[in-house]
């Protein structure tokens, strides 16, 4: 090994040791709950400590010198199934992901946790951890890592597990990752060719502009033909997307903004060609090449904004790749596509039911949060019909598959028409009507101009073509993509990821913001405030270990973040009442007041009681922790808009009292997914544009039906339903600022449209007067395009600090 590990001392300069996690930088005092202190420092959780140990063992602590606390907290990942990558042992599954090149294999895995130079460095050291790995290339822009390995020496499963062990949990999509998008390369080539032609055509056009009199006819002819030569590839290659789009629009009998562009470009090229061939002029080839060049650069701008913000996942990436099936007494892994009705499958806790199935075991529990929206797991007994999408809770269960994967209820929900019909974006509608208006106007004006000059047929043709050329709405097409593309990038950095730039415009025109379930607004069960009184630390630890055995939400909140082990024996759980058992030799009971035989204690939905060694039962309260600042954010959203809550939770006094201060009377509880969908539809029928803020698959239909569906996510690797935008949980409070920024986008576009129309008016006046010279076009077109680009990009970038506050 040639590299000596760098000193890791930098860490000590940056932060005093012991106050933050050595790996991820999260605050953690030594002795805090779950904190570990080792010779190397303090860690916030066992996960971070083991990642650090792994990195240290390989002499790679230089990881911590590249960036300030580059690690990501492992606290949330404590309960991951160690068998989750078992599907990668199956050649039928790996064949879909791995590309073979001779004796080498290559795989590209999405790694959302990657975020800085240190991540890049560590991920590219993968060959030090695994003998069979030859090289790994991380791509920070697309958050992927491409691993080249020798398939006989190391398996895909080992690679995935190694990445996960380092804290970079790969996301397993049903579809394999792509190393490079080919469409982007094509766009670069188109821009390159257009730019090349633009420069060279300029070279042959400028002499004419600088010379007051027409050039020597010999030169004029030579330059004209050279210009045609350079402009041809622009027409045939660079501008082709505009012609195909216009043709498609024409075939669909719709007029989009592509139609006047294609029209303008063809007229520009045609007239220039005629002028050169008939030796009547020098043509507009410089304007033509420049126009295509600017249009394509605008398109690149727009596409760049998509970078690293791709989150479009389908229902399949949420389902497992393969499941354990029992055939002839032996357990094998079967890819979910190959599951047949009647198959006998075993699912472990945390695994998702891949297809509608029936329970074979005596009893079990399923968490149906994704299907029905209910938080508490549901107890099931033999013969119960289970919908796909439920998550197994409690212990492993055996199921008989009833329907194949593709026809399961979840897949049906996904193929619901609201998902398949693309949402009519405000911008698309706006541009469509504008395109129609613009095309008709331009054609009308061209005809009028021709009529004006009619007896002179030559002049009439000149004027008509000049009108069509100058009316080409290039600046208009640049304004919206650049303004919204910039907005998408800025919002993405601020924590709101948009699916498409058009969403920014939709976001600016919202009448009502509907929050789905209180879970969106609180921090979730993993970080509830658990208040207990009267237990010492040892007793509290025992109680939490017992709680870890239960799937009840209160127990889950109590056990969240628990580390260490304890001997738990003789557990008996009485559904709906409580759980009892022996932990490290001491008797522990958790449950309702009645469970403790004490009827005089006051019980609410969020209170339970615990006792140790038959001692007095003491209350344990669980309060969903409200996201800090959410009340202020909701109030700010309410200015000029309405805000309401549609929750799937059962109505309870505790919930109402918590949220009535925030939402007042605009709350509805006990809403099923279809209730939510209907509620959104009803508001839309009343002519209101609705933004829905939700977090689960269960409200996916409502999210998709809303004008803007915003998913809240605390986990970069989380699965994402059909939504238009994702907001980071900790940035939810910035939502009002995001909406205001989106409104700014609309104003900038309006301003750009006005200016662009002013330029067009000047050009049209020249055209109708028959005075549109190539020089005037060559000046007017780039100047108007550049003004629009500078204006839309600049105004969307200034004073954006408030978004990040």
């Amino acid at each position: 090994m040639t590299t000596a590990p760098l000193s890791a001392d930098l860490f000590d300069y940056v932060t005093a040791p012991g106050t933050v996690c050595r790996h991820c930088g999260d605050p953690c005092a030594p002795g805090a709950r779950d904190a570990r202190t080792t010779a190397a420092g303090t860690f916030c959780c066992g996960g971070c400590a083991s990642v650090f140990a792994l990195i240290e063992e390989h002499g790679l602590t230089a990881f911590y010198t590249c960036d300030v606390q580059p690690g990501r907290s492992q606290r949330a990942g404590g309960a991951r199934d160690p068998q989750r990558f078992a599907a990668f042992d199956d050649p039928r599954v790996t064949a879909r992901f791995v590309v073979r090149r001779g004796d080498r294999a290559e795989v590209t895995l999405p790694v959302p946790a990657m975020h800085c130079a240190s991540c890049l460095w560590l991920l590219e050291q993968l060959w030090r951890f695994l003998p069979g790995v030859l090289r790994s290339d991380a791509n920070l822009m697309r958050h992927t890592v491409t691993v080249v390995f020798r398939p006989e020496a190391v398996t895909l499963r080992a690679i995935a597990e190694q990445l996960a062990a380092l804290g970079y949990e790969p996301v397993i999509d049903q579809e394999p990752g792509e190393r490079t998008p080919l469409s982007r390369r094509h766009l670069y080539l188109r821009i390159g060719v257009a730019g090349f032609a633009f420069g060279n055509v300029m070279l042959f056009s400028v002499p004419r502009y600088l010379n007051r009199a027409p050039l020597d006819p010999q030169f004029q002819t030579l330059f004209g033909w050279l210009n045609i030569l350079f402009a041809l590839p622009v027409l045939a290659f660079s501008a082709r997307p505009y012609f195909t789009a216009a043709l498609a629009a024409a075939r669909a009998r719709a007029i989009t903004l592509d139609v006047p562009i294609a029209l303008g470009l063809s007229v520009l090229f045609g007239r220039s060609l005629v002028e050169v061939v008939t030796r009547s002029g020098e043509g507009f080839f410089d304007s033509f090449a420049g126009l295509v060049f600017f249009l394509l650069v605008g398109k690149l701008f727009q596409e760049k904004a998509f970078e690293g913000v791709s989150f479009d996942r389908t229902v399949r990436s949420f389902l497992p790749l393969s499941v354990r099936t029992i055939r002839d007494g032996a357990t094998t892994l079967t890819p979910i596509q190959d599951l047949r009705p009647g198959d006998d499958v075993v699912l472990r806790p945390g695994e998702v039911i891949p297809a509608d199935a029936m329970l074979i075991d005596e009893a079990g529990a399923v968490d149906l949060a994704f299907v029905t929206g209910e938080e508490a797991p549901v107890a099931i007994t033999r013969g119960d019909y289970l919908q796909a999408g439920g998550r197994v809770a409690g212990h492993a269960i055996r199921l008989a598959i009833v329907r194949p994967v593709s026809t399961s209820r979840l897949a049906e929900l996904w193929s619901h028409p609201v998902f398949s019909t693309p949402k009519p974006h405000r911008l698309t509608a706006l541009l469509a009507s504008f395109g129609r208006w613009f095309t008709i106007g331009a054609l009308g004006l061209a005809a009028a101009g021709a009529a004006l000059w009619w007896p002179d047929a030559r002049k009439a043709a000149e004027v008509a073509t000049a009108v069509l050329i100058i009316a080409c709405p290039c600046a208009l097409t640049l304004a919206a993509p650049i303004a919204l593309g910039t907005a998408m990038g800025v919002l993405g950095r601020a924590g709101l990821f948009l699916k498409t730039p058009e969403t920014a415009l939709d976001l600016s025109r919202i009448h009502e913001v509907v929050f789905d379930k209180t879970g969106t607004l609180s921090l979730g069960s993993a970080v509830s405030n658990v208040v207990s009184q009267g237990f010492d630390d040892t007793e509290w630890r025992l109680i939490r270990h017992l709680a870890a055995e239960s799937v009840h939400p209160i127990s889950r909140a109590m056990a969240a973040g628990l580390s260490g082990t304890a001997r738990v024996e003789g557990v008996t759980e009485t559904a709906g009442h409580g759980i009892a058992g022996t932990v490290d030799g001491r008797r522990v009971r958790i449950g309702s007041a009645a469970f403790h035989g004490a009827i005089d204690l006051e019980t609410t939905e969020l209170t339970t009681f615990a006792s140790v060694d038959g001692g007095p039962a003491r209350p344990v309260q669980v309060r969903p922790a409200e996201r800090p600042g959410i009340a202020r954010a909701v109030a700010a959203l309410g200015r000029g808009r309405e805000v309401s809550l549609l929750s799937g939770d059962r109505e309870s006094a505790a919930l109402v009292s918590t949220w009535s201060s925030v939402f007042g009377a605009r709350m509805q509880f006990g809403q099923s997914p279809s209730d939510k969908l209907d509620a959104i539809r009803q508001r839309q029928r009343d002519g209101r544009r609705v933004a829905m803020v939700g977090d689960g698959l269960n409200d996916a239909a409502a999210l998709a039906a809303a004008d803007v569906g915003i998913a809240v996510s605390d986990d970069t690797a989380c699965l994402v339903p059909a939504c238009d935008a994702i907001v980071r949980g900790d940035r939810l409070t910035a939502l009002p600022a995001f909406l205001d920024y989106a409104a700014r986008g609309r104003r900038v576009i309006a301003l750009a449209f006005t200016i662009s129309l002013a330029y067009n008016a000047v050009g049209l006046w020249l055209a109708l007067a028959g005075r549109l010279t190539p020089l005037a076009t060559a000046v007017l077109m780039p100047v108007s395009s550049l003004t629009i680009v500078a204006l839309s990009a600049g105004l969307m970038r200034v004073r954006t600090d408030r978004l990040f506050a």
């Binding site: 090994m1 040639t2 590299t3 760098l6 230089a62 590249c66 130079a117 890049l120 460095w121 590219e124 050291q125 060959w127 790995v133 030859l134 090289r135 790994s136 290339d137 991380a138 791509n139 920070l140 822009m141 697309r142 490079t180 998008p181 982007r184 390369r185 670069y188 080539l189 390159g192 060719v193 090349f196 420069g199 060279n200 070279l203 010999q218 030169f219 030579l222 050279l226």
Partner: protein
């Protein structure tokens, strides 16, 4: 006249050479990722086993 034709030919030749270089660069993936390589160059450790073996 003949001089300027020579000049144009030479100029076009150079221009085409640059266009060819650009096309090669795009096809070779030089523009695929513009964020990672500038960071990678600052890192000392080799990211491939081949580099170490050589």
């Amino acid at each position: 006249m003949s001089v300027i034709i020579l000049l144009i030919a030479a100029g076009a030749l150079v221009a085409f050479a640059f266009l060819a270089a650009f096309v090669w660069a795009v096809r070779a993936g030089q523009f695929d990722d513009t964020e990672t390589p500038p960071l990678r160059i600052l890192l000392d450790a080799p990211h491939s086993k081949d580099v170490v073996n050589d």
